[in-house]
């Protein structure tokens, strides 16, 4: 197997499709986007992830042309697009509310953008049919938007925004209105369609699972700033800050002081009467520098006896158990009151579970399992 990994962001020669150059956006006294720079490459499926009010929707609306940057520039294919109105941009948007025209049929909704370009009748019909096929909506073409289901409406919105074959497609919380099961199916559908059409997708979402599933790269935002931009696995495994580690998935954060202990290895003193923890880190820490140790619950092993070879092991008793069906999360209380979460797969039936409330247990993890963060 010789497949080249799609990673233009690692290629210094690659030209980004979109460039945010020191973009700031203010609404009155409120700064929604704060001096932000970002490159997005062609054919990427890029996710802007963050809590509501973090500025992700403002980023998208600036790309669509509904808002103009207060400072800085946005480039699309090397061209400054700030002065270009939304109707002249090779960018289409799928709205959170879908914004389907209620007075037009599904067919006419999809044809709407093509008609504005005065496309010849034959080509237009072909293109609409193609979009209907792509989104599996052929039998609904004559219906009005209020006569179809939420999932179908979502596909119409997608078909309509893809019909003009934009260079860039913006998706504003595209799956927010769908229930969980349908959302998961639709995520894979979106990825399929993105791959088939080769369009660059930028998706805005507050759902970290959705961002991780669909995106080639994820940008985690907070208060108008980018916290981290990386592939989903790097965001999860190597968060660069406590904020990112905490925002993506479940995590244990242990505060302490770092002391160098060999090459790229540090000892963390974290509580009175507890033996120091060991973690590796490629970023340097000075002796005595305060730090945070982030450990994912699934990387913590729970056992009845102290594992002989474990480099990090702490003792506690089971405080709470969250049963999730396939997994169980154990909340273990240490002697000093700290709660550490450990997750394990339920490979056995629940009646044969090894631990129950108030059981004394040992938690252990390897030196590479935890991430050492400065802030």
């Amino acid at each position: 197997m010789n497949t080249t990994v799609f990673a233009p962001w690692e290629d210094p020669q690659a030209k980004p499709l979109i460039q945010f150059q020191n973009v700031t956006k203010r609404f009155g006294g409120f700064t929604a986007i704060d001096n932000l720079s970002l490159d997005i490459f062609e054919k990427e499926f890029f996710a802007l992830l963050g809590p509501s009010g973090c500025g992700k929707t403002t980023m998208m609306r600036m790309l669509a042309g509904f808002e103009k940057p207060s400072d800085g520039h946005i480039m699309l294919g090397g061209q400054d697009i700030d002065p270009i109105p939304p109707n002249k941009r090779a960018v289409n948007m799928m709205f959170q509310s879908y914004a389907l025209f209620p007075h037009l049929s599904i067919w006419e909704n999809i044809a709407f953008g093509l008609r504005r370009d005065n496309m010849p009748k034959r080509d237009l019909e072909d293109r609409v049919e193609e979009m209907l096929r792509l989104t599996r909506l052929e039998q609904f073409a004559r219906r009005k938007p209020h006569q179809i289901s939420g999932g179908q409406r979502q596909r119409v919105a997608l078909a309509r925004s893809l019909a003009k074959a934009p260079k860039l497609l913006l998706l504003d919380e595209p799956l927010g209105a769908l229930d969980k099961k349908l959302r998961q199916d639709t995520q894979f559908e979106l990825m399929d369609i993105q791959e088939k059409t080769g369009t660059t997708f930028v998706i805005v979402t507050h759902d970290q699972e959705e961002a991780m599933t669909v995106a080639s790269r994820v940008a985690v935002m907070d208060q108008g700033k980018l916290m981290q931009v990386a592939t989903p696995d790097r965001i999860y495994e190597n968060p660069n800050s406590v904020y990112v580690a905490d925002f993506i998935g479940d995590v244990n954060i242990i505060e302490g002081r770092a002391t160098a202990n060999g090459d790229e290895t540090y000892q963390v003193d974290w509580a009175e009467g507890q033996s120091p923890l060991t973690a590796t880190s490629s970023t340097g820490f000075t002796n005595g520098q305060s730090c945070h140790l982030a450990i994912r619950p699934e990387k913590v092993t729970i056992s009845a006896d102290r594992p002989a070879d474990a480099i990090n092991a702490v003792q506690g008793k089971v405080h709470d158990i969250a049963y999730l069906g396939n997994l169980s999360t154990y909340h273990v209380e240490l002697a000093n009151g700290t709660i550490i979460k450990a997750q394990s797969a339920n490979t056995r039936r629940i009646s044969r579970r090894s631990f129950t409330w108030e059981d004394p247990v040992w938690l252990s993890w390897t030196a590479t399992a935890a991430v050492l963060l400065a802030n």
């Binding site: 939304p86 109707n87 948007m93 709205f95 959170q96 025209f101 007075h103 504005r116 925004s161």
Partner: protein, 316 residues
């Protein structure tokens, strides 16, 4: 096993009959209302329109004399005829008045729409906290008597009125314009009076509209103007239709505005009706005029109701 099933069926049937009774009662109330306030007066007017004029009290004949029993009733019906309706077709005053009323109603509806739509649009696009105030301003004129407001317009539009004074003072005109007692004054009066009936339904349809639809249209390649034409106008169509009917239907029969602001040349059926009743004291002909007017109005009213029905169906 069959018996309990039957019992359940019986119980159900009983409840069903009770439900029907309740429904019938509920429906009966508006029907009684309609009967008392619309159908009964209509039949009285219809009866008068089939009678003959007479110098008496009441000023028409025959009157129903129930003391003579059956003979009285047959006598009464034998004296009714369509003479007055035939008369309406013979004197061209009437059909000219009907035609002129419809024309004035159509023109003033279009004028009201042209003035009202931008106002409704502005209101729907105004910041949310302003909207109740703007709505209040539209409704405010209803708090003073309609008659007083029309008289006020006489003060504004007359030769020595405020409008002419201001225009003379500004030097735009050198001799006063004659506006009062012309059709122009009638149009001004109608547009002014009926404007809220146009604004409110259009406003309510525009206000419900999702702002992102306009953005979606722009995103797909529409200019602002094109988006307005292709999205805003079609989506406010139910409001436009409702507003037009709400203005046109009463304007056809309008009496006060043409008689106060209009001149001798302003021919409207409401005025003719008034003159037949009170100047000529010819109640039968006046009633015939009223019956025909009602028939003319039924057509737009039915169209209006069909539109409303379609709208509620679309909303479901």
């Amino acid at each position: 096993m069959g018996r309990p099933g039957l019992a359940v069926m019986d119980g159900h049937g009983c409840g069903f009959a009770g439900e029907l009774m309740r429904r019938a009662l509920l429906i009966a109330i508006p029907y009684v209302w309609l009967l008392a306030l619309f159908l009964v007066p209509f039949f009285i007017v219809l009866k008068i329109s089939l009678s003959d004029v007479e110098l008496a009290i009441p000023p028409y004949t025959p009157t129903l004399d129930l003391s003579q029993g059956w003979a009285g009733i047959t006598d009464f019906f034998s004296q009714l005829d369509f003479e007055n309706f035939v008369w309406l077709t013979e004197d061209d005053l009437y059909w000219k008045a009907y035609l002129s009323s419809v024309k004035i109603a159509l023109i003033s509806t279009v004028l009201t729409l042209l003035v009202g739509y931008p106002i409704a649009y502005g209101m729907a696009r105004a910041p949310t906290e302003w909207r109740p105030t703007l709505m209040m301003l539209v409704i405010l004129p209803f708090w003073t008597s309609f008659l007083i407001r029309v008289y006020a317009w006489m003060g504004i539009l007359s030769n020595e009125g405020y409008l002419n004074q201001i225009l003379l003072w500004l030097g735009i005109i050198s001799t006063p314009l004659t506006i009062l007692n012309t059709n122009t004054a009638v149009y001004i009066g109608i547009v002014y009076t009926y404007l809220p009936f146009m604004i409110l339904p259009i406003y309510s349809s525009l206000e419900r509209m999702d702002e992102s639809l306009i953005e979606a249209a722009e995103d797909l390649g529409c200019s602002r103007l094109k988006a307005f034409w292709l999205v805003t106008i079609p989506l406010s169509r139910p409001g436009i239709i409702a507003g037009c009917f709400l203005v046109m239907i009463p304007v056809i029969g309008e009496f006060v505005i043409p008689s106060l602001l209009g001149g001798s040349g302003t021919l409207m059926i409401g005025k003719v009706l008034w003159e037949e009743f009170f100047s000529n004291r010819d109640w039968p002909v006046a009633s015939a005029v009223a019956v025909v007017l009602l028939l003319i109005l039924v057509i737009p009213i039915v169209l209006f109701q069909r539109n409303q029905q379609k709208q509620t169906e679309a909303g479901q």
